[in-house]
């Protein structure tokens, strides 16, 4: 159960973390995950330093490596997990934006609000230079309002399809005329702004200063949309969550001023979350798979290389495939992706720069008091699997760990490689 919580509320936990967690009340563990560390900002500081070096190079591709590095080291995994969620929700790709600083700023903004006020985040994203570039909204003229942003705001960011009319899109677009970017920053150009009355969702007003966003967020569909996405991200991929499940969460969002952290806390502490409906009911994303594998073994590897592997597996950080972000769920599973995942794990394990608690695999387990092949396999299953293995599978893996050829670390690596190809390993 603790492993399940850490997998979902972050990117898995290592043996020490799990041992500590089982001594505590689940609700307390959840609280700590949601609130994050009170001190020890060392990981944060190192991450910021690394970021500055990368931004100096101006290469957006390097940002992916920066984020991977941050994921290894973070002491606030839930914040990173939610930042990743919002990165997919407010999908913006460096492929088009091409500006490392803009992408980084957006990412930091998402991080700031990841467990915070969604309404504030929606306002921020509407003025975010990277987003405006991505949606071709760099200039938004009075005579030709840009409908793209208005449509995405409703369809993708706040309401979902089917909860607005074409007319609403057109009128909403007029609210954002004059919203531009100059010198990489948001600028309001009042000469291009259409300040007349607009009629949206049956309400007529001039809607200055982004107040139209508040109107959109007041729609009943809005909190349901966000709550639904949160449940899918944190609890189960399928089936689609029922209204009975979503409505109380939506109501909480409405009543608590869009406090995402509070709703996430409620979800993670719920009985549903720890039930059969949730455990093992999500397909692990490439990030979950690779970062999770490493973190559960106290490990790290070459961030640049791993960032490249994530692209290979379809989850390039800062490079979502389109405005809808990543579908997730079964979309991660297709013929070449499955083999790709296994191959990436194989490469990670063979990579000389991969470290496990500053050493190799054999010493890592030995330091935990785990020596025999059977014990290693047992530990691996506890750490990494959300569902049990068939009995003879365990025996086969133990045989591999015992007689697999090569030195002890290599044998353990092969066993993990084999484990990573199994269907059970794809679930998280």
């Amino acid at each position: 159960m603790a492993a399940h919580l850490f997998r979902r509320a972050g990117f898995a936990a290592n043996i020490d973390q799990l041992d500590q967690a089982v001594e505590q009340e689940p609700a307390d563990v959840v609280k700590r995950l949601v609130i994050g560390p009170s001190e020890s900002k060392e990981a944060e500081r190192e991450s910021a330093e690394f970021a500055q070096a990368i931004l100096a190079s101006g290469d957006p591709k390097q940002l992916s490596a920066w984020w991977v590095y941050t994921l290894f080291r973070t002491e606030y995994p839930l914040q990173e997990k939610m930042t990743l969620f919002w990165h997919g929700h407010f999908a913006t790709s460096a492929e088009k934006v091409q500006d490392a600083n803009a992408m980084y700023s957006q990412n930091q903004m998402l991080r700031r609000f990841a467990l915070g006020d969604f309404s504030a985040m929606a306002h921020e994203i509407s003025r975010d230079p990277a987003m405006l570039i991505y949606l071709d909204s760099v200039t938004n003229r009075k005579a030709h309002p840009n409908e793209n942003f208005a449509r995405e705001l409703m369809e993708l960011f706040c309401l979902g399809e089917g909860h607005y009319s074409e007319r609403d899109v057109q009128e909403l677009a007029r609210c954002f005329t004059g919203w531009e970017i100059r010198h990489g920053r948001f600028r309001f150009n009042r000469y291009q702004h259409d300040s007349g009355d607009k009629s949206i969702f049956g309400k007529t007003d001039r809607f200055p200063d982004g107040s139209a966003i508040d109107l959109v967020l007041q729609r009943p569909a809005a909190p349901r949309f966000i709550a639904g996405k949160l449940v899918r991200y944190l609890v189960f991929d399928e089936p689609v969550a029922s209204r009975a499940l979503i409505d109380p969460l939506a109501q909480q969002l409405r009543e608590q001023a869009w406090d995402i952290g509070a709703v996430v806390d409620r979800i993670l502490a719920s009985n549903l979350f720890f039930s059969d409906h949730a455990v093992g009911r999500k397909v692990r994303s490439p990030v979950d798979l690779t970062i999770g594998l490493l973190r559960s073994l106290g490990g790290s590897t070459n961030a640049q290389r791993l960032a490249g592997e994530l692209v290979f597996l379809g989850q390039g950080l800062f490079y979502p495939p389109n405005v809808k972000g990543w579908d997730g769920g079964r979309a991660w599973i297709n013929a070449s992706m499955l083999l790709g995942r296994a191959n990436v794990v194989g490469r990670l394990l063979r990579d000389k720069t991969t470290r496990y608690g500053r050493g190799d695999l054999e010493s890592y387990f030995r330091n935990m008091g785990i020596r025999s092949a059977a014990d290693v396999v047992h530990a691996l299953c506890e750490l990494m699997l959300a569902v049990p293995l068939p009995k003879d599978a365990r025996e086969r893996l133990t045989a591999l760990a015992e007689h697999g050829g090569g030195n002890p670390s290599q044998r353990i690596a092969k066993t993990i490689h084999a484990l990573a190809t199994l269907p059970e390993f794809q679930l998280g």
């Binding site: 079964r330 599973i333 083999l339 790709g340 296994a342 191959n343 068939p390 697999g404 679930l427």
Partner: protein, 306 residues
């Protein structure tokens, strides 16, 4: 796999009708109804010319006055085209295509489009991929709908494959059928570092069916098993595959080469989707276009010969 005519009929009913509710042209319906011999081995290979190919300079109406008048700088004259007839000819870089045409292996369909074309790249591409104008939901593409409707058995292999970058073309988006995107054949096999014991362990463990595990686990297990099987087939085919044909050295030709290998491997896939990008030319158009068409002609020609 259904016949070519059945395929067109499905298109007729699902895709073309969706554009402003126009009934399918009579010739398509007739073609569907007409019985012809079964063609069980047909494979459809689609090459998307991304960015917007200049069709008028590809199959050139060289004798048309309007064409010459409206394109003072870019018009290709009678002296340079590879003539098809009195009215049109190929762009001079399409030697490969012209040869295919001469040997009766190439057909050209003129004037495919939709009323009131949209000028935005993304919007227009979305319309082409989904055959839906704005206002209609665009969750599935024309190929995706065909794949869902036909649900052909492809022996566990993906019914359609996209070779290229990581973004799946909207045309392939479907309600049920998943079409993978692969960058190269190398991704299709398990890298076991030559360790047979490891490979055998993996294949055995993946091969076991997971009865009690639930929907998702079963789905993953069957997909994993199919993936390993496909990987083995492709590996064997690569070893056996020989071609005397010299493919040009560029991305498209490499991809076409890959398709040839997969077909040779007996993969059950019936639709392959490839892209040639770079047609979004606004400046230096003549040179860029010529180079791209050269790539296109050379690649297709080599592929068909193979």
């Amino acid at each position: 796999m259904s016949t070519r005519r059945e395929f067109l009929a499905t298109l007729g009913s699902s895709a073309i009708v969706s554009i402003g509710a126009v009934t399918p042209p009579a010739f398509l319906l007739k073609a569907a109804a007409a019985e012809a011999k079964e063609e069980p081995e047909t494979v459809l290979v689609i090459i998307q010319l991304s960015g917007g190919n200049d069709g008028l300079n590809t199959v050139v109406p060289y004798s048309d006055d309007t064409y010459r008048r409206d394109r003072p700088a870019l018009a290709i004259g009678a002296d340079r085209v590879l003539k098809i007839d009195d009215e049109c000819g190929f762009h001079p870089s399409l030697r490969g295509m012209a040869d295919l045409f001469e040997s009766g292996k190439l057909a050209i369909v003129h004037g495919v489009g939709y009323p009131n074309p949209n000028r935005s790249h993304f919007e227009s591409m979305d319309i082409w991929h989904t055959c839906q104008r704005k206002g209609s939901p665009r969750s599935t593409g024309w190929l995706g709908r065909y794949l869902d409707a036909s649900q052909t058995g492809s022996g566990g292999d993906a019914p359609a494959l996209h070779l290229g970058g990581d973004k799946q073309p909207l045309a392939l988006a479907a309600e049920q059928v998943r079409s993978p995107t692969i960058g190269s054949l190398d991704r299709f096999r398990l890298h076991d570092g030559g360790d047979t014991q490891l490979r055998e362990t993996i294949e055995e463990l993946v091969g076991q069916s997971r009865e009690g595990g639930g929907d998702l686990l079963r789905f993953i297990q069957t997909s994993s098993k199919a993936a390993l099987k496909a990987g083995r087939r492709i590996e064997a085919a690569r070893r056996g595959y020989q071609t005397p044909i010299d493919y040009p050295q560029n991305r498209l030709a490499e991809n076409l080469h890959t398709v040839a290998q997969l077909i040779d491997a007996g993969l059950g896939t019936r639709v392959y989707y490839l892209e040639l990008a770079g047609f979004d030319t606004h400046s230096q158009q003549a040179g860029a276009h010529a180079a791209l068409l050269n790539e296109l002609g050379g690649g297709v020609s080599a592929f068909l010969q193979d």
